[in-house]
């Protein structure tokens, strides 16, 4: 080919879209639906993940040390704890019983002196930060199994429930993305196949005149690309609306204390980029596959 005729390919792609408008419309609708379902689940996963990482910041438990331990023994114990899997080596702090008592009393100024003081307050303890919430229970058990750890206090059942939810949502999001991507590819392929079929005589004439495969293929790929991008643009604005509506519903129901959504303004660029890329990839790949058959002339 002497020239890469971009203008021609784009013009042909556009006119092809309008020459079978209904099918193109259906394809765009499918892409919109797929992207929104995909986007909603991804946004849910992102939000749950965000909340989880907040919880993980506070991911600590206390391990009380046997009173009979000497300072040397405490130091060795601390090293052992740091070496346990999933324990943040920089997140292990030794707290003396005096410090603990001060801290405790600060929160109980109105109580009678020492009246409600729990036993543990009189023990030295480690505050231990756990890296991965998912393995919280195992980690606590591993620490307690060390000789010299008398007892522990952990309040993280909520967080563990969250991990399960996050994992489920993420898995579901992946499965849905895979299924919907396949469905969109299929729809685009069929649109292209229809377009190519309705133009099979033109294609045969082109091939007879010595058109290269690329020359025949490009207008169809451009068509798929345009359909994908159109779907992505529509899906983006709809997704924005859906997200805002869900955020508002949460706020109205007073659930915001439990569950707050990230601001869309913080993530819109990422959402738009992912939508456009997915739309373009689905469109170009789908039509690229479909047109191969028509080139065998």
């Amino acid at each position: 080919m002497r020239r890469f005729n971009l203008g021609y390919f784009i013009k042909e792609g556009f006119s092809s879209i309008f020459s079978h408008g209904l099918m193109s419309f259906a394809a765009v609708c499918m892409i919109v639906a797929c992207l929104i379902i995909m986007g909603s689940f991804s946004l849910l996963a992102v939000n749950v993940d965000g909340m989880l990482s907040q919880l993980e910041e506070e991911n600590e438990f206390l391990a009380y040390i046997d009173e009979s331990f000497t300072p040397d023994q405490v130091r060795t114990l601390m090293e052992k704890i740091k070496q346990i899997d999933n324990v943040d080596p920089n997140g292990v702090t030794f707290i003396t019983r005096e410090q603990a008592k001060q801290d405790y009393l600060k929160g109980h100024e109105t109580d009678g002196l020492y009246v409600n003081m729990p036993d543990e307050v009189l023990r030295d303890r480690f505050s231990i930060h756990v890296i991965d919430l998912e393995k919280f229970t195992e980690t606590v058990e591993a620490v307690c199994a060390l000789p010299g750890v008398a007892n522990h206090r952990a309040e993280n059942k909520v967080a563990e429930g969250f991990v399960t939810v996050r994992n489920a949502v993420t898995a579901l999001a992946y499965v849905l993305i895979a299924i919907l991507a396949a469905v969109s590819l299929f729809i685009i392929s069929n649109t292209t196949r229809l377009a190519a079929f309705s133009r099979r005589e033109e294609i045969a004439i082109m091939k007879m005149c010595g058109a290269t495969d690329g020359f025949v293929r490009w207008p169809f790929i451009v068509e798929g690309l345009l359909l994908g991008l159109m779907g992505a643009a529509v899906a983006f604005f709809l997704q924005w609306g859906v997200y805002a509506a869900v955020g508002k519903a949460l706020a109205d129901s007073g659930a915001t204390a439990l569950f707050t959504l990230m601001e869309f303004s913080m993530i819109w660029k990422r959402v738009l980029a992912i939508f456009l890329l997915s739309g373009a990839a689905i469109g170009a790949l789908g039509s690229g596959f479909a047109i191969r058959k028509f080139l065998q002339v």
């Binding site: 005589e201 033109e202 020359f215």
Partner: protein
């Protein structure tokens, strides 16, 4: 088009080798060596065809319906491949041609069919532009070339007409113009007058003869005896997939 030039050079070299001891020094446009073609359903369409057509020749390929004429055309345009034997077109050896070379080979051929194969929703001008754009011609080249070929086929005032506004003879002239527009070395016409009345048929055949006289090699497939016998040309006759006669200034006999 560096690639094309390179291949033409290569082609010229192989043509030199193929030429038999200086009987004639014209380049070989088509060479079929012991061609057999069996279709997937088992039909043996060609059974050992040998044929050699040189640059500038006008050749009628005749034979009854079903004798394998169109099969030969499809072999020459690389639409199908031979089951056995060698096919050389314009220096391209179609037995081991690469897929990406096929378009370049086809650009050296103009092909014409009985059913015209024009794009109905494009004007005459549009149909010719379509063919030229296919090979990457510029707008300037189109504006220069299209009026010239339309004039050659006698349709200089029909550029803006649509195919369905034209007679069969005129539509076939458009198809001839389209075959010529990319300046091929050879034209292959498969029953170009099959849909036309005798007078239009004669006009079309005369036009093809004129184009041949200007230097384009011509292979015309037909089963119309009267038409063939009006021209004194080389006639290659096949029957049941076998070549039964090949003679200069020949007549088409049953």
């Amino acid at each position: 088009m560096a690639a094309k030039n390179r291949y033409n050079k290569k082609a010229d070299a192989s043509i030199q080798r193929l030429q038999s001891s200086g009987r004639e020094m014209r380049a070989i446009m088509i060479r079929l060596i012991d061609i057999h073609k069996e279709y997937d359903n088992g039909t043996k369409a060609l059974k050992g065809i040998n044929l050699r057509i040189e640059d500038g020749e006008f050749v009628f390929l005749v034979g009854p319906s079903g004798s394998g004429k169109s099969t030969i055309v499809k072999l020459l345009t690389a639409e199908i491949t031979a089951s056995k034997g060698r096919v050389i077109v314009n220096g391209y050896n179609l037995n081991n041609i690469r897929r990406w070379q096929i378009p370049h080979m086809r650009r050296t051929l103009g092909v014409i069919f009985q059913d015209f194969r024009l794009i109905e929703k494009k004007t005459v001008q549009g149909n010719l532009e379509f063919a030229m754009r296919t090979v990457g011609a510029s707008g300037r080249e189109m504006r220069k070339r299209i009026p010239y070929v339309l004039d050659l086929v006698g349709l200089e005032d029909k550029a803006d007409a649509y195919p369905n506004e034209m007679s069969g003879g005129e539509q076939q002239r458009v198809a001839i113009a389209r075959a010529l527009v990319n300046n091929p070395r050879m034209i292959i016409a498969d029953e170009p007058t099959g849909n036309l009345d005798p007078r239009r048929s004669l006009e079309i055949m005369t036009l093809l003869e004129r184009i041949n006289a200007m230097g384009t090699t011509m292979l015309v497939v037909t089963h119309e005896r009267d038409l063939v016998n009006r021209f004194s040309k080389r006639v290659v006759a096949i029957k049941d997939g076998e070549l039964i006669r090949d003679g200069q200034g020949g007549y088409y006999r049953a």
